[in-house]
């Protein structure tokens, strides 16, 4: 099939060549060249991936899984090929263990909703103190519905989870453990191998939020032996509004359907409906067809560059940026774990992060400021928020220099 064949990708890692793939990186903001350092919020999209969006709507657009006409069959094939790409990327055993969702939050809610039927009063759910709000609120709602109790793995000053306390929280009452693979606010890489093994020791299921890890790491769900793993396409050079849920077959069979609608049924009568097999049981209604197909193209793009090369280069950027930023007097970095990805959360002494972010924007530098949807972390450090610079494989050391110079300028203006 011709679609996706346009993916001509740079095999060698050369950041200047790679940057040419991303049209947005050459635009100006406030008259200055854009320095995009908000990759942890969303990644930019390469031309090869944008082309697939255009190609899909130009040549294949149709509803899938039902039509007997050619367009519908071609679109269905493309969509199911994308599922196979996601399966291969995460190394799931079966393609029906991959549910295509609207994103990480949707995936988490799907699992949380399913567990409503499996939990009873007094059961315990463990979450980590490093969670994004999307990984706290669904569990609170689940606890409200079922009478289960939410326990929290605390963090230390470096922004790492305290594993001794995790050990002591686990018991035969523990039914679920949820943590992110990598903290969005601080960049800490959590010891999920240990967390999964220990949880399985007491018979609990584990869901790992991979929204922040998937741009940097290629997770192997079978090697991890994880029960559920979730991610969003837009963090990995793909489009917004599409993501994935990996669930072990045995777990996905246990969970009841999330939403009712077309696509997720086998037989419907007013007396009784039987549900479709996996994965369609969890994919009610017309899915984000273009999004799913383009998600597959984004995975192809990132794999062609290679996750080892991406991680090595990003670590170099992280080290360089950390050293440069720390030379600024009064600058404090939050999240100082040795195991972290290319995210630097920081503040200038006596200056509100919002002020710094506003000045940086004027200088063309895009960072995130605020609590990063992780208010409990900010409460831990007793700060209103941080400035977060998050780097991707298409950022350069020159851009780090612009960031550092801009922070210095903001400091001068604001203090």
């Amino acid at each position: 099939m011709p679609l996706l064949s346009g993916l001509e990708i740079n095999a060698m890692f050369n950041v200047n060549d790679i940057r040419k793939d991303f049209p947005i990186l050459s635009r100006k903001v406030n008259g200055k060249p854009l320095v995009y350092l908000d990759n942890a919020a969303t990644s930019q999209t390469p031309q090869q991936v944008i082309d697939v969006i255009v190609d899909y709507y130009s040549n294949y657009n149709a509803n899938i899984h039902r039509g007997v006409h050619t367009l519908s069959q071609e679109a269905t094939d493309l969509y199911e090929q994308a599922r196979l790409k996601v399966q291969a990327h995460f190394n799931a055993k079966f393609s029906h263990e991959i549910i295509l969702t609207s994103g990480t939050t949707d995936s988490i809610n799907l699992v949380a909703n399913g567990f409503s039927a499996l939990l009873k009063k007094g059961d315990e759910i463990i979450v980590s103190a490093l969670e994004h709000h999307s990984n706290i609120v669904p569990w609170q709602m689940l606890c409200d519905r079922t009478g289960a109790i939410l326990k929290v793995i605390p963090m230390n000053e470096a922004g790492e989870l305290v594993m001794d306390i995790y050990d002591s929280l686990l018991s035969e009452k523990t039914k679920l453990v949820f943590t992110n693979h990598i903290s969005n606010a601080l960049g800490t890489i959590n010891p999920i191998e240990y967390i999964i093994e220990k949880a399985h020791g007491v018979g609990a299921a584990v869901l790992i939020d991979g929204a922040q890890s998937c741009p940097h790491i290629k997770p192997d769900v079978q090697a991890l032996d994880v029960d559920f793993y979730v991610a969003s396409a837009h963090k990995m050079c793909g489009p917004t509004g599409v993501g994935m849920l990996y669930g072990k077959e045995e777990w996905l069979k246990k969970l009841p359907p999330y939403q009712g609608g077309g696509e997720m049924i086998a037989e419907v009568s007013f007396e009784k409906t039987t549900y479709a097999d996996l994965p369609h049981k969890f994919e009610a209604g017309t899915p984000n067809i273009a999004g799913g197909i383009v998600f597959g193209a984004a995975i192809d793009y990132m794999n062609a560059i290679g996750f080892d090369a991406i991680a090595a280069y990003e670590n170099e950027l992280l080290d360089y940026a950390t050293k440069q930023l720390l030379e600024i007097e009064g600058l404090k970095i939050y999240g100082t774990s040795k195991n972290k990805t290319s995210v630097i959360s920081f503040n200038l002494e006596g200056v509100h992060p919002y002020d710094v972010g506003t000045i940086l924007d004027k200088l063309g530098v895009a960072v995130r400021t605020g609590h990063h949807c992780a208010q409990p972390i900010m409460e831990f450090y007793k700060i209103p928020g941080t400035i977060r610079a998050s780097f991707a494989f298409y950022n350069t050391k020159e851009e780090v220099d612009v960031l550092v110079a801009s922070v210095k300028k903001a400091k001068m203006m604001l203090s």
Partner: protein
Amino acid sequence: MIVSIEDIQNEIIDEFSMFEDWEERYQYMIDLGKDLPLIDDQYKTDSNIIKGCQSKVWVHAEMKDDQIEFTADSDAIITKGIIAILIRTFSNQHPKDIINADTGFIDEIGLKEHLSATRANGLVSMIKQLKLYAVAYQTQLK
């Protein structure tokens, strides 16, 4: 005699027209923020915080001789500058005039970007809150 809101806004537009670039504009706003008369600590309560701002903004309003006096504070200095500009236009004015005031001058002084909903600095929320106080006091006057 009360200087009208429109006259004050024109004064501010004149002041900002002297600046050549964003840097001078922002430096001026930062200085305005530093000069903002601080709100009395007893009014820096959670109920006086304006929702919808990434930084904290406290506003207190008091009625004196049929005019509203606003005091405010923020933990972010640019936000403080913005609220200082708003207070300068609205403070010591009659509630009715505040309710009817046009705020198009924000655009004219090059701060249009702060009106965008994504800005999260809450300029829109601030204007709304000041006008809400005016509506409340106007009701009392009747």
